[in-house]
């Protein structure tokens, strides 16, 4: 395999992008280490795609500096940046066959014919499409088209490889496969990649680090596990995995632990630097256990809804501390609607969030 990597880091330094009066990206700073895959995650309209397009040079920053490696590329147009991108629509040129598509970037860069051919073939082999070179994009399935788009971007050996929601046009089953393939290639070649998605599961699965964006700003940045276990705010807690967000109060602090009152329950949770006073508790749906035999000491509730989903059951439980959304893996013993239950909380998946 002759496809190598020239991976370089990407740095944003207080970058702002405004479209007229609308600020799409507001004072964003982050750094993507060379060879890592960082995901920009957020709801639609949060500025993640604009951020990606600014790395590509398809949008120009209104303020701030963008660096790739040690080079300031802030005012460099897309053509002159060593960055390639896999588009959501794949953007395969419909009038060129697969090989012509893959070799396009090499040809316009003025490489020798022999090398263009060799590298394009290597690229196709890498994504498992050897022998498909003379087909037209319209003759390929969605998954194959996606891989051609990846090959086309890869063969240029870019400093940074960008993915703009690359899986959104694939069906659910294929999505899992392709994302694993993308992750394998990225890790094997040691590419620097920035990946945009609104699907939090996809983000957790492929990323070294995740940058969660909300309303043009970075809400939180961290490794997948950090984001899930220690969300910085209500938005992140709710956006990454589901969470029941409940009002609570920190009664006292003991070192790094806080004594929290949640309705009638008392909990000991990591304080995460919060002060005493009102606070919120984020409880993952999986962290709640329901027992049909209502025993004395714990929280009581009534099951209002029960939805069977094959691998698990989702419950909606009315309790004195509020309505709780519960996911239970115990499909063998379903709890009927309107039954009284006792509600327990596990150690994992309960965390304090500042409001």
């Amino acid at each position: 395999m002759t496809i190598a990597s020239k991976a370089a880091s990407v740095s944003f330094d207080a970058v702002t992008k405004a479209f007229g009066p609308v600020v799409a990206v507001d004072q964003v700073s982050f750094r993507v280490e060379a060879g890592s895959l960082v995901t920009l995650l957020g709801p639609s309209g949060c500025g993640k795609t604009t951020t990606l397009r600014m790395i590509a040079g398809l949008e120009m920053a209104t303020h701030g500096r963008i660096l790739i490696g040690d080079d300031d590329v802030t005012s460099l147009p897309a053509t002159d940046r060593d960055v390639s991108m896999v588009f959501q629509s794949y953007a395969l040129f419909p009038h060129m066959n697969v090989l012509e598509n893959v070799s396009y970037g090499l040809r316009v860069s003025g490489l020798a014919k022999q090398e263009v051919g060799d590298r394009a073939h290597d690229g196709l082999e890498l994504v498992g499409l050897k022998g498909y070179g003379d087909r037209l994009p319209s003759e390929l399935s969605g998954g194959q088209q996606q891989r051609v788009a990846v090959a086309r971007a890869l063969v240029l050996e870019p400093q940074v490889l960008l993915f703009d929601e690359p899986l959104s046009n694939l069906d659910a089953k294929l999505r899992r496969r392709v994302r694993e393939e993308i992750r394998d290639i990225q890790q094997n070649l040691g590419l620097t990649s920035v990946y945009v998605t609104h699907d939090q599961e996809e983000a957790l699965a492929v990323s070294d680090r995740i940058i969660v964006m909300n309303q043009a700003r970075i809400a939180q940045e961290g490794a997948p596990r950090e984001l899930y276990d220690e969300p910085a705010d209500l938005f992140v807690a709710d956006f990454i995995g589901d969470a029941n967000l409940l009002d609570a109060e920190i009664l006292s602090l003991e070192g790094t632990e806080a004594l929290v009152s949640l309705g009638d329950i008392r909990l000991r949770l990591p304080a995460r630097g919060l002060e005493t006073g009102p606070v919120r508790v984020a409880i993952r749906p999986q962290a709640i256990t329901l027992r049909a035999d209502a025993r004395g000491e714990s929280l009581r509730g009534v099951v209002r809804k029960a939805t069977y989903l094959g691998s698990h059951i989702e419950y909606s439980v009315e309790t004195p501390i509020g309505e709780l959304f519960v996911i239970s893996g115990d499909v063998a013993r379903p709890i009927a609607k309107d039954s009284d239950v006792s509600v327990g909380l596990s150690q994992q998946g309960v965390t304090l969030v500042g409001s």
Binding site: T79, F87, Y104
Partner: protein, 738 residues
């Protein structure tokens, strides 16, 4: 130095130091001057030699602006000095070339004040030629590269250059002539500015008089034009809607035939309809004679005047309304109508309360189109006008008639321009964003309901006789060419064809002895040269409009679509006024015809380009850019190949429109460059209907052939589907295998 700068610097110097600075009298494509005293001859000398040989010292400073960019050697593109030098050189050079061109004309100083300042000038200068053209192009692209280097459009030299080019061309060949009209309307016969003369001319009774309301004096041309345009606009809209409804919402059998009618106005020179009407209803027309023989109705000249023009324009422009309204009627989402029906509306209620209101903006659009077309029409009023004066022909007679009053022509042109621009403005501002009929990309399944019964009969009643009449008209056109003298001697003959298109073999091979060959060949060459240029500038403009964001884009778009709203007669007059004298001296050449067609037909190319480019996913461009291609490479390798249908459409339409055009052309033809349409009009004025009709049918055939040939040649798009030899499994199977 930057390669692009070096290239344009070389072009600039080529124009200044090598090529003849002034226009060559023999013509743009004649290169006899090369062997006729060049470079020392005063007529052919390049600019730099003119300074020394002919003491044209005012050409010397140009060299300063051409030397400036040499200061860029060894400087990087992001050096602020780089942009500034280019801006100074480009802007200064352009301004200076323009200034000296306008200040010094055939008779020395053009402005009295300059003469007072510098004393009388012995030297004179002619229109700018190749040299000045190239040097100006060099300056223009220095300017755009300077702007790009300042960071406009991400520093994209190609895009900024294209914008600059289009602005410069539109400025010179659309805005400048129109401004010239305004200026000469304000001048009196001596060439001095005289607002009072303008007012007298403007409020002339022959323009605004309302005598026809009170007595039997005829009304002013402005009212006549307005009345005609409103009735034709309304009439074509109603008939066009009837046709569109027949095709889309009835069980009518010959729908294909009706659709074929829409091609007719595209390939028919406008006045040909007028001719056919004369053959039918003129004093010696078939219908007239039939009526007088059988019914004893005396043959009259009633067809000449409002009835004839209206009739001819209705026939000529109904297909255009039809074409527009088919889109509108089909564009009403069937699901809306189905929704109405499920809400218990019957077919009539559905049509009246849902379908028709949804079509309203489209109907207004069709009306305005018909209005503009009628206002601008020149051929039919010329042939059938009689005593009914309309603006477009009055402009013509003001220039070519005994009066030769350019000021009056300019005033009339202003009035006409006022009407069409208002309609154009109304169409864009009022209707532009008000279309209900956008078909969404989502699969909008469902079928249009059929019309209610009564309405069906109504639209049949309107459309079918009209279609029959159109067919009769075209039969007349074909037949008329083979008849000895229409109305008097109906024996069949080839006389007209022979006199127009005879070929004999003489000593030097074939001799094109027919009287029409000269204008025929000129027409083909001019149309052939202008078509690719029109398509080119149209598509570049469309690319800029669809794909690029830049300041002032709205005005840019308005400017490029403007020429659609400028009637041909107005363009003709304005070109005569603007390009008859230096610095741009083009009248009497073939170049002015080519230029006229390019800018008259540019909106066609722009529209074709916009329509198909909007369907290309923008991420295709972006993919190409991120893969390292420049915007120029992207246009060349990705966009153009995908735009082939649009290119073909633009090519064919501009070719065909150049052949059928008459209104602007008639001002611009000359003995050397006569066009087919103006030749035919000349024959009509001599009552030589046979030849005129014969020539027209030949033109129609040529255009039909051109359309079908080009469609055939480029129609087969390169989509290499693999043979079904087992190489391609079904997409479904493949996605599973993947």
């Amino acid at each position: 130095m930057n390669r692009t700068v070096a290239l344009w610097l070389a072009v600039g110097w080529l124009g200044y130091a090598l090529l003849p600075w002034y226009a060559i009298e023999d013509g743009f494509w004649i290169f006899e001057w090369l062997f006729d005293g060049y470079p020392a001859d005063r007529d052919y000398a390049p600019g730099i030699l003119q300074v020394f040989l002919d003491d044209k010292v005012w050409l010397a400073p140009i060299s300063f602006f051409l030397l400036l960019p040499l200061g860029l050697i060894g400087r990087a593109k992001n050096d602020p000095f780089f942009a500034n030098i280019l801006l100074i050189s480009g802007l200064g050079g352009l301004a200076y070339v323009g200034l000296q061109g306008f200040s010094i004309g055939i008779g020395g100083w053009e402005f009295a004040s300059l003469e007072q300042l510098f004393g009388p000038l012995e030297r004179r200068q002619f229109g700018l030629g190749y040299g000045a053209l190239l040097t100006s192009a060099g300056f223009l692209f220095f300017l755009t590269q300077g702007i790009a280097a300042r960071g406009a459009i991400n520093g994209d030299v190609f895009v900024v250059g294209s914008i600059g080019l289009v602005i410069a061309l539109v400025g010179i060949f659309i805005l400048f002539p129109v401004i010239q009209i305004l200026l000469s309307a304000l001048k009196d016969d001596a060439g001095l500015y005289a607002p009072s003369v303008f007012l007298t001319k403007f409020f002339d009774k022959k323009i605004w008089g309302l005598g026809c309301l009170s007595g039997n004096v005829s009304c002013g041309a402005a009212w006549n034009s307005l009345f005609l345009a409103v009735t034709v606009g309304a009439g074509t809209t109603i008939l066009g809607l009837a046709f569109a409804l027949v095709v889309t919402r009835t069980r009518f059998r010959a729908k294909k035939l009706l659709r074929a009618l829409t091609v007719l106005p595209i390939i028919t020179p406008p006045f040909v309809i007028g001719l056919a009407i004369i053959l039918l209803f003129g004093r010696s027309g078939s219908v007239t004679q039939f009526a007088s023989d059988l019914l004893g109705i005396p043959a009259g000249r009633w067809i000449y005047g409002l009835p004839g023009i209206w009739f001819a324009q209705m026939l000529a422009f109904t297909p255009i309304a039809f074409l527009v309204l088919i889109g509108v009627v089909e564009g009403v989402s069937p699901s809306m109508e189905e929704a109405a029906q499920t809400l218990r509306a019957d077919r009539w209620t559905t049509f009246a309360t849902v379908s028709l209101p949804l079509m309203r903006p489209g109907l207004a659009n069709a009306f305005l189109l018909g209005f503009i077309e009628s206002m601008a029409d020149f051929g039919n009023p010329l042939v059938l006008g009689g005593n009914y004066d309309v603006l477009s022909t009055e402009i013509f007679f003001a220039i070519v008639g005994a009066q030769n009053d350019q000021g009056r022509a300019a005033v009339l042109a202003l009035v006409l321009l006022g009407f069409t621009l208002s309609a154009f403005y109304a169409q864009r501002r009022w209707l532009g964003k008000k279309s209900y009929t956008t078909v969404t990309g989502k699969g909008d399944s469902g079928v249009h309901p059929y019309l209610p019964k009564r309405l069906t009969w109504l639209v049949y009643g309107a459309a079918v006789p009209w279609a029959a009449l159109t067919i009769v008209i075209y039969v007349m056109i074909v037949f008329g060419g083979f008849v000895e003298t229409w109305g008097r001697d109906h024996s069949l003959t080839l006389r007209h064809y022979i006199s127009a298109f005879s070929v004999s073999s003489g000593e030097g091979g074939l001799l094109w002895t027919g009287s029409a060959w000269n204008s025929f060949f000129t027409t083909m060459i001019i149309a052939g040269v202008s078509a690719p240029l029109t398509a080119g500038i149209g598509l570049i403009t469309a690319y800029l409009l669809v794909r690029q964001k830049f300041a002032g884009k709205d005005s840019f778009e308005f400017g490029t679509m403007l020429s659609f709203a400028i009637p041909g007669t107005v363009i003709g007059v304005s070109y005569v006024l603007a390009f008859n004298v230096p610095p741009i001296e083009l009248t009497g050449t073939g170049v002015i015809l080519v230029i006229c067609f390019i800018f008259r037909n540019m909106p066609v190319g722009v529209r074709a380009g916009i329509a198909s480019m909007s369907q290309l996913d923008k991420s295709l461009d972006e993919a190409s850019l991120t893969l390292g291609a420049t915007s120029f490479t992207t246009v060349r390798k990705v966009i153009l190949p995908l735009l082939r249908p649009a290119i073909v459409a633009a090519l064919v339409y501009s070719f065909v429109r150049a052949i059928t055009a008459i209104s602007a052309v008639i001002f611009l033809v000359s003995a050397n460059y006569d066009m087919a349409t103006s030749y035919i009009i000349g024959r009509v004025e001599n009552n030589d209907y046979g030849l005129a009709i014969a020539y027209s049918s030949v033109l129609i055939l040529v255009m039909l052939a051109a359309i079908s040939m080009v469609q055939f040649a480029v129609g087969e798009r390169r989509i290499r589907r693999r043979n079904q030899d087992g190489g391609v499994a079904s997409p479904l199977a493949e996605s599973k295998a993947a």
